[in-house]
Amino acid sequence: MARMKFLCDAERCIDCNACVTACKNEHDVPWGINRRRVITLNDGKPGERSVSMACMHCTDAPCAAVCPVSCFYTTADAVVLHSKDLCIGCGYCFYACPFGAPQYPRIGNFGSRGKMDKCTYCAGGPEPDGTMIQYEKYGNDRLVEGKLPLCAEMCSTKSLLAGDGDIIAQIYKERVVKRGFGSGAWGWMTAYHQGIAV
């Protein structure tokens, strides 16, 4: 069984934000909600690196551990999804998430939060596939069509990889061996409790 993961090769990421707009385009994500974004470290200084970030679909997801209504669930492909019908917008998952993935639409004047929204690994949610209700709440389900998340598919430099963890780890390893350097599989230790040994 495939164990789906994301891997951002920071040696390749150029902060072009294709992943961000691809996500917006695929799921018509509204203004102000960013399921994915690019973070730049040491901006403008030697050693500057950018990484594309979204929900990493963690092993033992901390968001799920703190959710008071148990709206999270993990699919057979190890994708962490949630039910917007159950979500109460409490924001606990935002504090628990090490990657800042959960997003909340503002629904009132006093900063009150709507239902949480986050990266679905292009795998939709609990509603039936191919329905408008699923699309409106969670966006498209590409995975069921045999496609990977569009952010990774459209990455300008093939920096962002998505797919079975073993295979993308293998691709990353081969890259590092070939070019002779690599700054590590960013976020893997936190998300998956394992790194990639080269």
Binding site: A22, K178, R179
Partner: protein, 968 residues
């Protein structure tokens, strides 16, 4: 917790079920690898497999039951890389995008813009119907009324002021066919005042590079950079401006362990991936290059054989380089000797080396000299005409290469034929119109053959006294198709110019800055043009490959495509029958294919003759067959065998001749028939007793084992090759010049026979010459350093002044006076910061389109200036705080946010150039037609940029001026 309905849902199945062929129970490795975008190492070879096992499926909002999903293929409209866009269309609506895996150029990838192009079409901020400004209010009018009124006004101006008083400003976002049609339109109207964005983009590149070795274009390709061992980027930030090119650059860098050197005043996103970053003072390109050449010559690192065989003028260059000792280089550029030497050694000795540039070299009052210095460095180190080397000039817009080629330019007819009588007669033969009639359209023969006014000076031609503008009257009307107003320097002057026009017509998917910049109350029309996604046609990427885009959806609202709009106006002006004589028009719909066929029939000079619409469409169908490094299809393929993707020009002869296109220009390692070539013998055969033809160098398979001049029928006769011409070819040649057929050259032979015969004998039709280090027809035959007009080093002006004042392109260029006055007045003391400008990844050009795209606008919501922490601290400026920036001309000022960053060196500030809609602190949102205002507005950098024009092309100087900043 919920468990996903994995087992129960049989309608579509789970991911696992989708990969039924998989052996490991999870994934089909081949299709998976393809999708996960692998690259390095042994896995890379799998990257070109076609997607098999995965079933086609629809994305975007789910299609209603029973509605079929159609996939359509077009090309991204945001930069010159040429990424394939795959659109999913349901019921005439563009519902989603999928990766274009098969394209050898982008292999599924996009940048922020490419991944968001669906909203370029669907944007709610699009102009929906023709609008007319009446007493300061926008009114909806019909197309018929708009064309009728515009046509009448144009005719009135023609009667009163003559045809030269109308400016036809075209677009680098046109398809090739529209660009060609727009130039043809200006010719039929009777003026050479026809220009487009290349003026402010790479006009100096075209002039400088063509004057060195024949053609002014990228010599290799983005893909070919994968072969380089040293990649030097000077004056470009492709990570933001051409993001998908970084796929090739970074993979090449990794696979070859290549050196990647970035020389730039700003520590850009590109520089972050460099092996060496060199921070240089803006405007010191030539001293930097000569500083490198000083070490190269001193250490004997130059390529002596290459220079002897293929280069003219090395001795004069050596004399100039001698002056640039390490001390002087450091004094002018600020670069230490050790770094210059190290970079020079890498570039000269770890070959093949490629030099990449964009507007960081071109946008100077000495831009032509800059790019010539770059060519000289490549020539001295033998880095032209082979894989992995070359001048990889990254053009800006998606079709700025094509629009330049097709003569949307003040100095030439399509395909660089120039403006002399021979050129006009050639195109009149192609168009099948009488030369005398064409002449009658112009004021007189002199104006027919005199270059027009550059787009950078249109407002000077409007505002200056009539006697200072060398044409019958000043500019009275601007007809603008697809060109922003905020990309041209000196905007306060432009605003005055717009006010003074009798007629302003903006034909664009958006209202643009033109509509709101001035205080106009009447005489302004907005015509809604559609985007290139709503029409079909070809576009030329930076690497000279042509790609055919098919219409994705019909034009939205009342928008029309460029062809049909030009046809309507030509009909109103009375020359549609002549202009569209050989182009099919059905119910007002113009055939793009027919326009391309006409280009093919006349495009011999640049090898635009072989790319028929049928061949281009075959390439789009067979994208997956082309190799990612060589761009070539396997020899045995029935449709595209042996051809290079997109038939990069020159693609010689008729389409039936099946030339494969030229992946690398001037490459003697291949026969001409397979895409090889030589340097063009364009500058004569000898000068001062020295031969200008190649010396012992020739392309593989050439029957002439030495240099040779360009081919004419006379030359063929001397060689005894004329007997290879068919009777039909001979008859056409006779018809081209009945009195002296021997003088008919390869470039005006409408039969293609001379090209065919030359190539069959292994020769380049344009001859085999030497590249020139001395371009004796230019102001500085050997490039020399000159300070920018508003320089941060007034102490250097005495030694390195700009060129004397002169008249160029019908208007005065008083750069010398302006520079001297700035030095005398001590402007630098008052404005002590260098201001330079550039591009952001999420926006493009003037930003009219991208600031109206909801996904892109969200990424960049404010105009800002990047400033070094020390400069910010000295002024009490906080990161994210508001500042006023003051410019040294027209009392200009602009209000924006500050981004305090070490990306900038001390004393230099940087601004993006995509913003408009605020002018000198005033929000102009209320002046846009209701609902068509861009989502994001901001101050334009060009409100602050200043005087300075390249004498060869009229290029502006927004890459280095001065400013002062204060906290607001």
């Amino acid at each position: 917790m919920l468990v996903k309905r994995a087992a129960g849902d049989t309608r579509r199945g789970t991911l696992t079920a989708a990969f039924t062929t998989s052996s490991n129970g999870g994934l089909d490795r081949r299709s998976f690898l393809r999708r996960s975008g692998l690259a390095a190492g042994g896995l890379a070879v799998l990257g070109t497999l076609s997607s098999g096992g995965v079933r086609k499926a629809e994305a975007g909002p789910p299609a209603p039951a029973g509605e079929p999903v159609t996939l359509r293929k077009n090309v991204c409209t945001h930069c010159s890389v040429g990424c394939t866009v795959i659109a999913e269309v349901v019921n005439g609506v563009w519902t989603g995008q999928e990766p274009g895996w098969d394209s050898p150029i982008n292999r599924g990838s996009h940048c922020a813009k490419g991944a968001a192009v669906r909203d370029d079409v669907g944007s709610e901020r699009r102009l929906r119907y023709p609008m007319k400004l009446v007493n300061g209010a926008w009114n909806r009018v019909s197309w018929d009324q708009a064309i009728e009124e515009i046509g009448n006004k144009l005719m009135e101006i023609r009667q009163k002021s003559g045809p030269e008083s109308v400016y036809w400003l075209g677009s680098a976002k046109f398809t090739n066919e529209a660009a060609y049609l727009n130039r043809k339109f200006a010719a039929f109207w009777g003026t050479n005042n026809s220009d487009h964005q290349a003026r402010i983009c790479h006009s100096t590149t075209v002039a400088g590079v063509a004057n060195t070795w024949g053609y002014g274009a990228m010599t290799n390709s983005y893909n070919d950079i994968r072969n380089a061992r040293t990649i030097m980027i000077m004056g470009g930030n492709p990570a933001e401006a051409h993001p998908v090119s970084l796929q090739h650059i970074l993979e090449g860098k990794e696979l070859n362990r290549a050196n990647m050197i970035v020389i730039d005043p700003r520590m850009t996103r590109t520089a972050a991936h460099a092996t060496e970053y060199v921070r240089v003072r803006p405007g010191t390109h030539i001293p930097t290059i000569y500083g490198m050449l000083w070490h190269i010559f001193r250490n004997g690192w130059e390529d002596k054989d290459f220079i002897r065989q293929r280069v003219y003028g090395i001795e004069e260059l050596r004399k100039e380089v001698e002056k640039w000792t390490p001390d002087e280089v450091e004094r002018v550029t600020g670069l230490p000797e050790a770094q210059v030497r190290r970079v020079a050694e890498l570039f000269a000795t770890q070959r093949p080396s490629t030099l990449i540039w964009a507007m960081g070299q071109t946008q100077y009052s000495f831009g032509t000299a800059n790019v010539r210095a770059s060519c000289i460095l490549l020539l001295a180190t033998g880095n032209v005409g082979l894989n992995g080397a070359g001048a990889n000039i990254f053009r800006g817009h998606d079709n700025v290469q094509g629009a330049t080629d097709l003569g949307l330019d003040i100095i030439t007819l399509p395909l660089y034929y120039g403006l002399d009588e021979g050129a006009w007669r050639h195109w009149c033969r192609v168009w099948e119109v009488d030369y005398e009639w064409m002449l009658s359209r112009f004021v007189n023969k002199t104006f027919m053959e005199t270059p027009g006014i550059p787009s950078t000076r249109w407002f000077d031609a409007t505002l200056l006294p009539t006697e200072q503008v060398a044409q019958p009257d000043t500019m009275k009307a601007m007809f603008i198709m697809g060109h922003g107003g905020n990309t041209i320097a000196r905007m306060p002057e432009a605003a005055k110019g717009i006010d003074k026009l009798d007629l302003l017509v903006v034909c664009d998917p958006y209202p643009t800055t033109w509509a709101v910049l001035s205080e106009r109350k009447n005489g302004t029309y907005l015509l809604p043009a559609c985007t290139s996604f709503e029409m079909s046609g070809s576009r030329t990427c930076s690497n000279r490959s042509l790609q055919w885009g098919e219409q994705i959806v019909k034009p939205i609202f009342e928008c029309k495509n460029d062809y049909d709009i030009m046809y309507m106006l030509a009909a109103k002006l009375g020359f549609a029958d002549r202009m569209f004589k050989n182009i099919k028009v059905e119910n007002g719909a113009v055939s793009a294919e027919d326009i391309l066929r006409e280009i093919n029939r006349g495009g011999w000079s640049t090898g635009y003759c072989g790319q028929s619409p049928e061949r281009l469409k075959a390439h789009m169908r067979n994208q997956h067959k082309f190799d990612v490094v060589t761009l070539r299809a396997p020899k045995d393929d029935p449709e595209v065998g042996g051809e290079v993707y997109g038939l990069p020009w020159p693609c010689w002869g008729t389409p039936e001749f099946r030339h494969p296109g030229t992946p690398v220009l001037y490459n003697t390692n291949l026969p001409v028939k397979e895409g090889g070539g030589t340097f063009r013998a364009r500058f004569g055969i000898e000068r001062n007793g020295v031969s200008l033809l190649a010396d012992g160098s020739f392309s593989v398979g050439s029957e002439i084992k030495d240099g040779y001049p360009e081919f004419t029928l006379g030359v063929l006769k001397k060689l005894g090759w004329d007997k290879d011409l068919t009777a039909q070819e001979m008859a056409i040649i006779q018809k081209v010049n009945p009195t002296n057929p021997d003088a008919v050259a390869w470039s005006i032979d409408l039969s293609g026979g001379i090209q065919r015969v030359a190539i069959e004998h292994g020769c380049s039709p344009f001859g085999n010459g030497k590249a020139r280090m001395i371009a004796w027809n230019l102001p500085d035959p050997i490039p020399v350093h000159r300070e920018v007009i508003y320089t941060s080093r007034p102490d250097l002006v005495a030694k390195y002044p700009t060129l004397p004042d002169a008249r160029q392109f019908r208007v005065p260029n008083k750069g010398f006076t302006v520079q001297k006055s700035a030095v005398d007045r001590g402007v630098f003391k008052q404005f002590p910061l260098i201001l330079t400008s550039g591009r952001l990844v999420a926006l493009e050009g003037g930003g009219e389109e991208t600031r109206s795209n909801k996904w892109l606008a969200e990424l960049r919501q404010d105009m800002f200036v990047e400033i070094n922490p020390a400069d910010a601290a000295a002024r009490g400026i906080k990161n994210g705080g508001w500042v006023w920036v003051f410019g040294p001309e027209s009392n200009s000022k602009a209000r924006m946010k500050a981004l305090v960053t070490e990306r900038m060196g001390k004393g230099v500030v940087w601004m993006p150039y995509h913003f408009a809609g605020w002018f000198q602190g005033v929000d102009q949102r209320s002046k846009y037609p209701k609902g068509a205002d861009p989502i994001v507005l901001g101050e334009s950098v060009n409100t602050l940029t200043t005087y300075g024009y390249d004498p060869v092309t009229g290029m502006q100087e927004p890459k280095a001026t001065l400013c002062q900043i204060a906290a607001a």
